[in-house]
Symmetry: C2
Subunit: 211 residues, 2 copies
């Protein structure tokens, strides 16, 4: 297998932490997104959308989308369980992981990209073939969504150690990546959200968080 | 189990078609979203975000997110396989289902909601506690994304019968729901996209498409 990655990008980090928790090492190709390496050949022949990460199998099969990559890795390396141990847990991980993705990662991306000169013509990630102009109103909406996400997260973590109960899962990974990504727009966990701060200390201290 | 649904809404339909393909019937509570039944009690006690659908288990456990619901149902009723038959197929279904969701369903929702007077203060689905003003620029961006989605879909379906090869999967379900939803904004499959039109005829003719 081969993993196309960008060390500084928040979204591939979700897959990197998942791999680190599994103890799996895959030969990795680093792309420099600041220099736009993901937006031109040869990478566009790997991923026509210019998105990162991509997983390439030995038979040449490729797919993107972090969750597709993580599910595939999980089939090859089932332990430790990071997608839930029972049907109900798996449904909860899916639901909360998606919430963290939409209201954490994507809201952060909207708030970041639409205020940044580099993305004036690329409001969405990847390499669209036409201009996709920034929409400045998405900055406030993204920040508002992150506020709601933090309120939800604090209520949840007042009831349980991790997002989905007593076990660390993919929902925690996506949330950690979202919270760290929000530093780029100077948004932090509110100081009064003591349960979230306790959770953050624990998950950020795991060796996998260095990935 | 109990399924909280809205027959006219495009997103719950994804779960309804999944259930119909599995041959599973669950007692269903219909909510009238035109009258805002999902945005007030008693439904907010079921789903604090006011989102549909929600699945409620007999022990009171509830979760939302269509994919969480479908994965749970799939564990109880594994046949027919709708999420892939092999690890590679499952990764592909996850990847393409997400693409259909982001570039089909969500792009359609952005194009629809942000032009409609009913959603002037609810640019995002559900029941946020504060106003989330419409962003008119999202209409053009959503339509642009749908155009790209159709180009991708046509190229894919020129190579295979269904989105993920020779078997009907959740990726087809989400795409069918997106294409039908786009009628609300008067967007159709381009007449020159003959492979997509052939695919649409086949999937829309399945009994489950009535769900």
């Amino acid at each position: 297998m081969k993993f196309y990655d960008c060390k500084m990008a928040p979204n591939p980090r979700r897959a990197r932490i998942f791999l680190a928790e599994k103890g799996v090492t895959i030969p990795t190709v680093q792309l420099n997104i600041l220099e736009g390496e993901n937006l031109r050949e040869p990478y566009l022949s790997v991923n026509s959308r210019g998105l990162l990460p991509t997983l390439e199998l030995d038979d040449g099969t490729r797919f993107d989308e972090v969750m597709a990559i993580c599910r595939y890795i999980d089939e090859l390396y089932p332990m430790p369980k990071l997608l839930g141990r029972t049907p109900i847990e798996r449904a909860r991980v899916e639901s909360y992981q998606r919430k963290a993705e939409f209201e954490g990662m994507i809201a952060g991306s909207e708030a970041f990209r639409n205020q940044h000169a580099n993305f004036a013509e690329r409001s969405i990630p990847g390499a669209p073939r036409q201009s996709v102009p920034a929409i400045p109103d998405l900055v406030a909406r993204g920040r508002q969504t992150i506020d709601r996400f933090h309120a939800w997260l604090e209520a949840l973590l007042s009831q349980s150690e991790y997002l989905c109960g007593d076990a660390f899962t993919m929902a925690d990974i996506t949330t950690l990546c979202a919270v760290d990504f929000h530093k780029w727009i100077e948004v932090s966990i509110p100081a009064t959200n003591t349960n979230t701060l306790r959770w953050y200390q624990a998950v950020a201290a795991r060796p996998s968080a260095q990935a």
